[in-house]
C-alpha cells in the first residue's frame, strides 16, 4: 500500500461517509424525538432511489433537480406513515413495538416496489456526471461522489440551521431532551414528532438518489443499508445528530483504510471491533446522552 492509496481511501471515506451520515441523520432524529427505531429507513432510502430513477428515466429529470419533487414527496410519505402507524404506538413497549411496526412497513414497501419495478437491479445512469470524474492530486475523483458530498453537507447544514437557529428547532431540541417537560411548556410534541418523522424520511430521498447513482439496486438492497445505518447511529449515539455525522464518516474511512491497507474481508470486522470497544467505555455511543437512551 502506498501513501497515495491511503489518501485515496480517506478521501473516498469522507465523500461516501457523508452520504451515509445524511441517511443516518434521519434515523437518529426520529429516534431522538420519538423513541422510534425505524428499521424501514433502508427501504425508504431505496424508495427515494426509485423515485429519482423514475423521474430520470421516464421524464428525463436530472437526479439533483428531481430532489425538488422527491424530497417533499418523501416528507409526505413520512407524515402518512407516522399518522397511520407510528402515532398509534403508546406505552412502555413503544420502542420495541416500533421495530415490529416499521419492519412491517418495510416489507409492504419492498413488496410494492418489487411489483412496480420488478426485482431486476437498476441504476440511475442518465446524467453525464454519473460516470465521469476529475483528476486531482494524481487520483480520479468521481463527480457524483463530490456532488453527493456537497449535497449531504448542504442538507446537514440546513438541518443544523433548522434545529439550532429556528423556533421549530428549539421545540425539537426540547422534545429530544424531555418530551414531558416540552409538553408542559406548551410544545405540541405530537406535531413536532410528526414533522420530525417527515424530515427523517425526506432526507432519505437525497441519500437514495446518491445511492441509486452509485449502485445498481433493487428493493432488497435495503437490507444491507439498514444494518449499516443502525450501526452508525449506535456508534454515534442514538438521538445524536453530530454523532451520526462523525460515526458515518469515520466508519467508512476506517473500512476503506482497512480494505486498502489490509484486506476487504477485515474492513467490517475491524469496524465492529471498534464499535464494541467504544460501547464498552461509552454505552451511550460517542455523542449520545445517557438520558436520551432511557427517555
Amino acid at each position: 500500500m502506498t501513501f497515495s492509496n491511503l489518501v485515496h481511501a480517506v478521501i473516498d471515506g469522507v465523500l461516501t461517509g457523508s452520504v451515509y451520515a445524511l441517511m443516518a441523520t434521519g434515523l437518529t432524529l426520529i429516534f431522538g424525538v420519538m423513541d422510534i427505531i425505524n428499521v424501514a429507513q433502508g427501504v425508504f432510502v431505496i424508495l427515494g432511489s426509485y423515485l429519482s430513477y423514475a423521474l430520470s428515466v421516464h421524464f428525463g429529470v436530472d437526479p439533483f433537480v428531481g430532489l425538488l419533487i422527491t424530497m417533499p414527496t418523501m416528507f409526505l410519505v413520512g407524515i402518512v406513515v407516522e399518522r397511520a402507524f407510528i402515532a398509534r404506538l403508546k406505552g412502555p413497549e413503544k420502542t420495541a413495538m416500533s421495530i415490529l411496526v416499521t419492519y412491517a412497513v418495510s416489507l409492504v414497501i419492498e413488496g410494492a416496489l418489487n411489483m412496480i419495478f420488478s426485482t431486476n437491479p437498476v441504476q440511475i445512469n442518465n446524467a453525464s456526471y454519473v460516470n465521469s470524474s476529475v483528476h486531482l492530486f494524481g487520483m480520479w475523483l468521481p463527480f457524483i461522489y463530490i456532488y453527493g458530498f456537497i449535497l449531504a453537507s448542504v442538507l446537514l447544514g440546513s438541518l443544523y440551521f433548522l434545529l439550532y437557529r429556528t423556533r421549530f428547532g428549539a421545540s425539537v431540541r426540547a422534545s429530544l431532551a424531555d418530551q414531558t417537560a416540552a409538553a408542559l411548556v406548551g410544545i405540541d410534541v405530537k406535531k413536532v414528532s410528526t414533522i420530525c418523522f417527515g424530515i427523517g424520511i425526506a432526507v432519505t430521498a437525497a441519500g437514495g438518489m446518491i445511492y441509486g447513482t452509485t449502485n445498481a439496486f433493487n428493493a432488497s438492497s435495503s437490507y444491507d443499508l439498514i444494518s449499516r445505518l443502525l450501526t452508525i447511529i449506535v456508534l454515534g449515539g442514538m438521538g445524536s445528530l453530530a454523532g451520526a455525522l462523525v460515526a458515518g464518516i469515520s466508519m467508512i474511512i476506517l473500512e476503506d483504510i482497512v480494505a486498502v491497507a489490509w484486506s476487504p474481508v477485515w474492513s467490517n470486522i475491524t469496524f465492529f471491533i471498534l464499535l464494541v470497544i467504544v460501547l464498552s467505555f461509552r454505552p451511550q455511543g460517542l455523542f449520545g446522552k445517557q438520558s436520551a437512551r432511557v427517555a
Partner: protein
C-alpha cells in the same frame, strides 16, 4: 437404576423412531396418488432479499416448465402444481420452508432453491425425509463436500467454470497475451472456488498477478476495492461475483477511474440477460464476459423450444433471457425423465435412478450425475456481450463459438 436417564433414552429412541416413520411415510406416500389428481412440487425460492432477482427468474423458469408439462398432459397424467414459498434469501428460512412443504403441504417432490448458500441446508433438510432434491443453482464444492446422497445439481459444477476462459487467455499468441491480471472475489461458496483455478492456468502462462483480494459478500461500498483494482492497472480482471449489482458497481468504478482492462470476466451477472443490461447499460456491457453452460442462442433443439415459449409468454429476445430460466427448466426436465423411468413419484426410486449413470437431455445439454450428484457431463462455455447480442465465444473448437471481441471496447 437412573430413572431419569432411562426415560430420556426411551424418549430419544421413540422420537427417532417416530421421525423415521414420518420420513419414510412422507417420501413414500407421494407415490400413491389418485389417477388424474395434481402432483405437488415443493420449492423454496428467494422472492425477496439478496437473491430475489435470481429467485424470481428461477420461479419463471420452474413455472414455464410446469406450464409446458401440463400442456402435454402432466407428469404421468397428473397435472403439476408448484408450491413455491419464499425464503427471503435466508438459509434458516430455507430449512423451515422445506420442513413445512414436506410435513404440512405433503408435496410429492422437491426442487432446489437458488444459490449454493441455500442449497446445502435445503438438501440436508429434505434428506431427513428421504426426498430427492434436484437443483439448478448450487454447484459449489462446499455443497458436494457434504456428500448427500439425495442432492443432484443439473448445472455445471462451479469450480471449473472459469477454466475455458483462463485457457483462452493463456492460449493467446504471446504478443497479444495480457501480461497482468487482477483477481477479486466475494467470499461466497459459489465464487471463491472459481478463482484459484483460473489464476493457476493464467499464472502458468506467465500472466503476473497485479492484485488479488477477497471481499465480504455483504459489502455495500465497493469503491475502495474497485479503486485498488484500477490502481493495479492489470490488463485482465477476473471478478468473483454472485449478482448483477456487484458487477455493476465495479464497472461503474472502473469507468469513473478511466480504467479499461483489455479483458473483464465476472463469474455471474453478465449472464442475467436484460437484468444485467438494464443495470449497466448496453454500451457498458459490450465486451463483458461470463462463464456459463447455456445462452439464449443455443442450438440445442430443447433450448430453442424453451426460448420460443419463454418469449411467447414474457416477450423480449433470446439474449435477454437469464441463464437462471434454463437452469430451473433443466431441473424440471430431469425430474420428468426420472418419474417416467421409475413410473411413479417414489423418491427412493428417483434417487436410485439419478445415481444410475443415466444421461438425461435438458435445455442446458446433457445431465449425468456422479456419486456426489454433480453433473459431470456438461461443458463449460464462455460468453460475451457483443453489442446487443450475448454470444458464445469459447471453446473455440465449438462451431457455435463466435470470434472474441478483444480487447474489450472502452466504457
Amino acid at each position: 437404576m437412573n430413572t431419569k436417564g432411562y426415560f430420556f433414552r426411551l424418549a430419544s429412541v421413540a422420537t427417532l423412531g417416530a421421525s423415521s416413520l414420518i420420513a419414510v411415510g412422507a417420501a413414500e406416500s407421494s407415490s400413491a396418488l389418485a389417477a388424474g389428481s395434481p402432483i405437488k412440487i415443493g420449492i423454496s425460492l428467494s422472492l425477496s432479499g439478496d437473491f430475489s432477482s435470481d429467485g424470481i427468474a428461477f420461479q419463471q423458469g420452474y413455472q414455464l416448465w410446469a406450464n409446458d408439462v401440463n400442456a402435454k398432459g402432466g407428469l404421468l397424467g397428473h397435472p403439476v402444481v408448484l408450491d413455491i414459498v419464499s425464503d427471503a434469501s435466508d438459509p434458516t428460512q430455507v430449512t423451515a420452508n422445506y420442513q413445512k412443504l414436506i410435513s404440512q403441504d405433503k408435496v410429492a417432490l422437491t426442487f432446489g432453491p437458488y444459490s449454493s448458500l441455500l442449497s446445502l441446508p435445503a438438501a440436508q433438510t429434505v434428506s431427513r425425509y428421504g426426498y430427492a432434491l434436484v437443483e439448478g443453482a448450487g454447484g459449489a464444492p462446499s455443497v458436494f463436500a457434504a456428500k448427500l446422497h439425495n442432492l443432484f445439481d443439473v448445472s455445471l459444477p462451479v469450480a471449473n467454470a472459469l477454466q475455458p476462459f483462463a485457457q483462452w487467455v493463456a492460449g493467446l499468441p504471446k504478443a497479444q497475451r495480457p501480461k497482468t491480471a487482477s483477481y477479486v472475489t466475494s467470499n461466497d461458496p459459489f465464487t471463491q472456488p472459481q478463482i484459484p483455478v483460473a489464476k493457476k492456468i493464467m499464472s502458468k502462462a506467465g500472466i503476473k498477478t497485479a492484485y488479488s483480494s477477497v471481499f465480504p459478500a455483504e459489502t455495500t461500498d465497493y469503491t475502495p476495492i474497485a479503486d485498488r483494482v484500477a490502481q493495479a492497472g492489470a490488463q485482465v480482471v477476473v471478478l468473483g461475483a454472485v449478482d448483477v449489482p456487484t458487477v455493476a458497481a465495479f464497472m461503474k468504478a472502473f469507468a469513473q477511474m478511466h480504467y479499461n482492462p483489455k479483458v473483464f470476466v465476472a463469474s455471474a451477472g453478465p449472464d442475467q440477460g436484460t437484468q444485467f443490461t438494464s443495470a449497466v447499460t448496453q454500451k457498458a456491457a459490450n465486451g463483458m464476459m461470463v462463464p456459463s453452460s447455456w445462452y439464449g442462442g443455443s442450438a440445442n433443439p430443447l433450448s430453442k423450444a424453451m426460448v420460443a415459449n419463454f418469449i411467447k409468454v414474457h416477450g423480449g429476445t433470446a439474449s435477454q433471457i437469464s441463464a437462471d430460466i434454463a437452469e430451473a427448466y433443466s431441473v424440471g426436465q430431469t425430474i420428468v425423465a426420472a418419474v417416467k423411468a421409475t413410473k411413479g413419484f417414489n423418491n427412493a426410486k428417483i434417487i436410485k435412478y439419478l445415481h444410475s449413470g443415466v444421461k438425461i437431455k435438458t435445455v442446458q445439454g446433457n445431465v449425468k450425475f456422479n456419486s456426489l450428484g454433480e453433473n459431470f457431463s456438461m461443458t463449460a462455455y464462455t460468453f460475451q456481450w457483443q453489442g446487443a447480442n450475448f454470444v458464445q465465444i469459447n471453446p473455440a473448437t465449438d462451431p457455435n463459438s463466435k470470434k472474441v471481441v478483444f480487447p474489450k471496447p472502452a466504457w
